[in-house]
């Protein structure tokens, strides 16, 4: 009979011996990657998902000995969803923590501020949330990469599909700020181009979850499709109020993006039969081998399957590591060149690639539909369609200001 202390000592010793080769390989100082994101504020739940993806990437990389034999260390900083704070944190990461790369950012205006600091310091920035400007002139720099989807690609994909498959007569409700306005413009355009009509559109102030004054008018117009460009917690209020006014009986609700975490909050009944786009849904593991690998590792570490934005965080970190290995260097210029010369990758889902002119990632996206019956604890959606990655879905590099 061994006592607890002996057992512990023995176990720790054995673990240390087994870990030894990896430790020896990962000699030298770690490669540091700065990761600003809004850990507090209204989008903290999306940021938490992004962070989990990056943490998993760190684990996976270091278990294989890191990059170039050095450990990879990701430093997370809370940007509070404020551009000024994002700039400050990024500057600190670069100047005081000596990070070699920046990955992260959530919300268009904050990633701009982060990008400005990365540009100044000549460091690669891989942005991992939606924005049309981040990969366009004049904001984008030669080291600015954009891993996430953007409103143009999302709107064109989801809009074209929904006009054909859900209904022709649309109404658009959008939050009155950059992301909402971009969605309104892109969807209006794509609905009309595909033979649909937009009966009307309603802006509402972001963060003000009172829709009762908008709903009677929308209901009276009898649209077949209601596009809800309504982010975060506003979405909860929107769904509850739309349902209480009886809107769901006559109109199908479409979102630019669906989130599992949001569906869990609002409830399966409210999300049933609503449509949305997504860069990733965990049940893709049934058909995509890379996704199976990723979802299994994620679920093992966090005891729940990933939502969509953790994929961006994971892939962003993995791309930095891939670039370092290719370039045999941590110099941002060398890594950027290496990535653009070897543009294809697939870290957690189907194949993606970098477009050389604007350093934008192209990737498949999926249309999902809310289930009526929850499958397991997290099975909120059915995947109803895949929109294959296509550079034609984004603006051309000419349209984005690249000569």
């Amino acid at each position: 009979m061994i006592d607890r202390r002996t057992f512990l000592t023995g176990t720790i010793g054995a673990a240390a011996v087994m870990a030894c080769p990896a430790v020896l390989r990962a000699q030298g100082s770690p490669i540091r990657i700065g990761f600003p994101l809004p850990l507090t504020g209204p989008f903290d739940w999306i940021a938490a998902d992004q962070q989990k993806g990056a943490q998993l990437a760190m684990d996976v990389l270091n278990a294989k000995g890191g990059a170039l034999g050095r450990k990879v260390e990701v430093l997370f900083r809370d940007d509070e969803l404020k551009p000024a704070v994002g700039a400050q944190r990024t500057k600190e990461l670069i100047e005081n923590q000596n990070v070699e790369f920046i990955v992260g950012g959530l919300a268009a205006h904050v990633q701009m501020a982060i990008n400005e600091q990365a540009k100044k310091a000549n460091k690669i920035f891989i942005s991992i949330s939606q924005s049309d400007e981040i990969s366009a002139k004049p904001d984008s720099g030669p080291l600015t990469f954009h891993e996430a989807l953007n409103p143009t690609i999302t709107g064109r994909s989801v809009g074209a599909w929904a006009v054909k498959n859900v209904g022709k007569k649309w109404w658009i409700v959008y939050a009155d700020y950059a992301w909402g306005k971009q969605n309104n413009a892109v969807f209006t355009d794509v609905v009309q181009k595909n033979g649909g009509t937009v009966l009307g559109s309603t802006p509402y102030p972001l963060g003000k979850p009172e829709f009762s004054t908008h709903l009677p008018k929308i209901q009276a117009a009898r649209p077949e499709v209601l596009l809800a460009a309504v982010p975060g917690n506003d979405a909860v209020a929107f769904m509850k109020q739309a349902i209480s006014f009886g809107l769901k009986q006559q109109t199908k609700i479409v979102w630019p993006l669906h989130f599992v975490d949001l569906a869990k909050t609002v409830g399966i009944d409210a999300f049933a039969d609503t449509y949305g786009g997504t860069s990733f849904y965990w049940e893709l593991q049934d058909s995509v081998p890379e996704a199976k690998h990723y979802v299994e590792a994620f679920t093992k570490k966090f005891n729940r399957p990933p939502d969509s934005y953790s994929g961006y965080g994971y892939s962003g970190i993995m791309e930095v590591a891939r670039g370092i290995e290719l370039a045999k260097s941590t110099n941002s210029d060398a890594v950027a060149t290496a990535l653009l010369n070897n543009p294809s990758y697939a870290h957690y889902k189907t194949k993606q690639w970098w477009r050389k002119c604007d350093r934008k990632a192209f990737q498949d996206l999926w249309i999902v539909k809310g289930r009526q019956q929850l499958k397991g604890e997290w099975g909120y959606f059915d995947v109803v369609s895949k929109v294959a990655a296509d550079e034609a879905l984004d603006r051309t590099c000419g349209e984005k200001g690249y000569a």
């Binding site: 917690n233 609002v266 409830g267």
Partner: protein, 294 residues
């Protein structure tokens, strides 16, 4: 054509009326506390949020919406009593700015505390089955739950009126609002009255929170936007005036609803325009008394 737009206008006006009722409920506790204590309670929004979370908690425990509706405001009221006794009381006699800063800071402490306990992701709970869905009013179909909130608001207002006008404690509260020094000179312990009124005002924020939960969802930042709305109502109505809060709440509800109908982009601005206009014509608000805020 004219029939259709008249019907649409009626629907919009009715929506505005009910929205106004909700605004009254949000603002009345704030107004009550200010009227008696001359304290601007910046934590009102966070206590409203706390009401919604307590409602969620009680509902989870008892499976009864009615238990949540009754217990959550009482729980928030108790939190209010503790805040008044241990945090506010040491500040009496000091500059009103101190109380303002205290409640402002407290609102963020409450937000972060709630995130620690219930997590960052919002929560949601549903109204009782009887109140789900919409009711046909002839000119529009309207959510039953919103009508229920309007009814609760009316009951609360009548009860509050009865308390202030017909009870002895109410008499002291009213006297204390007018001339605290004189009331003290008569040997009445005004400190206890302040304590109770603070608890009551805060409990009403909690009640508004439980009622709003099924309407707007439950999340830690839910009070931040609401506190601005409430302040506008209280300022337009006149700081500390209960009839003022009622009239201003209904007025703002209608203004928002009708502006939304014709020009949704302006709805937000028009509220502040109304506030500016009222203050230009009547600097103390519609029902305010000059000098109360000083």
């Amino acid at each position: 054509m004219i029939d259709v737009s008249l019907q649409a206008l009626a629907a919009q006006a009715f929506t505005g009326l009910v929205l106004g009722g909700i605004l009254v409920l949000l603002a009345i506790g704030l107004s009550l506390i200010f009227g008696l204590m001359a304290v601007v309670n910046f934590a009102h929004g966070s206590l409203y949020m706390l009401g919604a979370y307590f409602g969620f908690f009680v509902l989870g425990l008892t499976r009864s919406y009615w238990a949540a509706l009754i217990l959550a405001p009482i729980m928030v009221g108790i939190v209010g009593l503790v805040i008044e006794r241990f945090l506010m009381r040491p500040l009496y006699g000091r500059s009103p700015d101190d109380a303002l800063l205290l409640t402002f800071g407290l609102s963020f402490v409450l937000i972060e505390a709630v995130k620690l306990v219930w997590g960052k992701m919002g929560l949601t709970f549903d109204p009782p089955k009887a109140f789900a869905g919409a009711m046909n009013l002839g000119f529009m179909s309207f959510p039953v739950y919103r009508l229920f909130i309007l009814a609760v608001t009316i009951v609360v207002l009548v009860a509050l009126w009865f308390f202030l006008e017909k009870t002895n404690v109410g008499l002291i509260v009213r006297a204390g609002t007018r001339d605290p020094l004189m009331v003290r000179a008569l040997g009445i312990d005004l400190g206890r009255i302040w304590w109770l009124v603070f608890g009551l005002g805060v409990a009403m924020a909690g009640l508004a929170g439980v009622l709003a939960g099924p309407l707007r969802g439950v999340y830690a930042d839910m009070g931040l936007e609401m506190i601005i709305e409430s302040f506008v109502v209280v300022v337009v109505g006149g700081m500390g005036s209960l009839p003022g809060a009622i009239v201003a709440g209904l007025l703002i509800g209608e203004v928002v609803s009708l502006t939304t109908f014709f020009a949704p982009k302006l709805a937000e601005i028009v509220v502040f325009l109304v506030m500016a206009l009222v203050l230009l014509v009547r600097p103390s608000g519609l029902f305010g008394e000059a000098g109360l805020a000083e």
